[in-house]
Symmetry: C2
Subunit: 418 residues, 2 copies
């Protein structure tokens, strides 16, 4: 098989299906989502068998335990895919929404209509559940998609693809609306991210090196986030109980996630009160502490942080701590080291809260809440295809609206321009 021809074929089909799916009624799209859920429900056994092939091959090829864990389609993982499909079906349809329709002095009415982007290419690692999540979000938002999962999950993904095809057919929607790349050849990715005539946007999901490579090589725009180097700043004016609760939650609720805190900034005047309490809690949970000179003098269990620590997304039970003069130094530190994902301030001071919200240039900025809330579900988006740390188009958790754009519509009654 010639990979270029194969991928171009997918592109042509997707473009055509994208036009049809963009016009599909909300009812048909929801029916397809529920029929896909039904097909998965009825094919649990087949999915398990196909997934076993991938797991065996993975073990044989020396995948580590974490990778095998992500690859496994356990009964619980299958149930989660079914629930996810039902949740997306229940969300409001973003397509065709009209906003800000108002009369202009000339007499025309001008507004904006939300429309699908067209064709979305999604590249991800060996997590078969992403196949269903991504397909559901693209379908609901009226986009066609081309999905390229990790080659280690190819049997699982093909089995899921069959369920998706059944669902689309049952709803009388074009099966090319969701296409899954059926080759493990890595050249397929190179084609996908440069087929500008067929693909409107690329969403890479996975580790930083995957995302960096795709961003660099893609000629199609990419929605991405690279790092989640998130900060919590505890101001003098913080309520101690809230500060402890938030700083412990932001670091320890889960470690390997992009919205976990990696650096804690503490105002000088409150450090002596709050840091010993925090250190006790962190040490109980086995979190290693790396601090600035002042922090180390307060906390004997703390080792000295180096410049590299301020730049590091640990994704692990390690925390860097710096004592700062106040909000100005905190914001300066954040501007310098943050990956612009999520930052939080803990304060009871109205003016400082307002300043932090406006001046910190990150995709999510919080007051008195844990950075762990930076998530499409928690934000009420219903689901997310990823979190964008770019500034253009979509910023922060990207839900259905992030997969659409707004075109202008004009309603007249024979109006001409004078």
């Amino acid at each position: 098989m010639d990979i270029k021809d194969y991928m171009q074929g997918l592109g042509i089909n997707a473009k055509q299906a994208g036009r049809e799916i963009s016009r599909a009624s909300s009812g048909k799209k929801n029916l397809a989502l529920l029929e896909i859920a039904d097909a998965i429900d009825k094919n649990r056994e087949l999915l398990a068998v196909e997934n076993q092939k991938d797991l065996h091959a993975g073990q044989h090829n020396g995948l580590d335990a974490a990778a095998l864990d992500r690859l496994a389609l356990t009964p619980k993982a299958i149930q989660a895919m079914i629930e996810g499909l039902k949740q997306v079906a229940a969300l409001p349809d973003p397509v065709g929404e009209i906003i800000d329709l108002s009369y202009q002095p000339s007499g025309i009415q001008v507004g904006q209509m939300r429309v699908p982007l067209g064709v979305i290419g999604i590249i991800y690692e060996s997590r078969p559940n992403v196949t269903v999540d991504a397909a559901a979000l693209c379908l609901k938002s009226g986009n066609a998609c081309i999905l390229r999962g990790g080659s280690e999950a190819i049997h699982s993904n093909q089995a899921i693809a069959a369920c998706i095809t059944q669902g689309l057919q049952a709803a009388d929607l074009p099966v090319s609306a969701v296409q899954i790349v059926a080759t493990a050849d890595r050249a397929a990715v190179g084609e996908l991210i440069t087929m500008n005539q067929y693909v409107d946007i690329i969403v890479p999901r996975g580790g930083k090196s995957l995302i960096e490579r795709i961003s660099k090589e893609a000629s199609i725009p990419v929605i991405k986030h690279l790092d989640g180097l998130c900060h919590v700043y505890i101001d003098d004016s913080a309520d101690i109980d809230k500060a402890v609760a938030i700083a412990v939650n932001a670091k320890t609720q889960r470690y390997g996630v992009c919205n976990a805190m990696e650096t804690l900034l503490v105002a000088d005047n409150i450090a002596v009160k709050v840091l010993p309490l925090l250190a006790k809690s962190y040490l109980e949970k086995g979190v290693e502490l790396r601090g600035c000179l002042k922090t180390c003098s307060l906390l004997p269990e703390c080792i000295r942080a180096t410049e590299a620590d301020w730049h590091t997304e640990y994704l692990a039970p390690i925390l860097s701590i710096r004592i700062v003069d106040g909000i100005d130094e905190a914001i300066e530190h954040i501007n310098r080291y943050s990956s612009q994902h999520t930052e939080a301030i803990v304060t009871e001071d109205y003016t400082l809260a307002r300043r932090f919200l406006r001046e910190v240039d990150s995709s999510s900025v919080m007051v008195n809440a844990s950075t762990r809330f930076a998530d499409g579900f928690e934000y009420g988006l219903g689901a997310e295809i990823g979190i964008s740390t770019d500034k253009l188009h979509a910023r922060g958790p990207v839900g259905l609206k992030g997969l659409t754009s707004l075109k202008f519509i004009v309603l007249g009654d024979g109006h001409i321009r004078l």
Copy 2:
């Protein structure tokens, strides 16, 4: 002067000034705009003298009449710059606007805050008035900008730059918020469009070849429009008077503009009624008609269109005309040949109007209105920095909001994630 060092210096200054201007109050920004208007008002003579230098050099270098016309800072052009500044000052400040702030089940409040993009690089041809327009929009939207005008306008632009600096100083804002590249060396453009660490977005303004080249070479995202190949479709169900008024206006109100109609599509059953009326009007105005076979059989003055005509943005008194079966063939033609700028339908049929609005994938879609309305002022944006035919971020006329992005804000009261 080393161009790379020089441009990097502008980048560093812009980044710093961008932080300051992003926090500047609406009052200060408006004051700066009015002070710039005042400085231009007081320096009309100096501007004219510097502009004369560019005009003389342009004549010497063989610029054509149209280019010299765009280069000229006539008293009328200077007055228009002053009025433009006052208009932008009077627009609402987009920065800091908070939308959709609502409580989530967890108890946190989630909303989105509109924030500046950061640093905007604008590359344009030898129209000195763009210098003021672009600076005003960037300043009001809280962005720093680096402006690179055509080398033929360098004296005019430097004189305008001095006025801008005076205005920024008078309002106590950083003068690096607006920087104008002070070299005619074309290598400056290559640097500007690849300084990803300092520049957040590039806006090219000018001819298609300039925009194509910049889009191709830029590593920074570009807001652009390439072509304005706009269509008007007259359905069977159209009111004849409205159809004639709109089709004449869309083609002939101005020829060299991106929102002028280039191809007219007419439904078979109305062609015999509407086309002779239109042809009479077009011929009176000296518009050359190029039609499909059916059109030519109806209109003796029409010559045969070739395949190339359907692809051509004439920007001239030439119109291609095609008779189609109905809305399906019209939409198919548009999907195939349109540049996705602006398309209009003329119809009295509710269902067809609704279908056209939803199914035509262009940045502006109109019912019973002339394509010439596709414009930031006519849409009530107050001003525009350009028209985007891309789908991501900003689509259609790009005003102040197009120079901002939305970050998420979260307000809690010590909330942690469970």
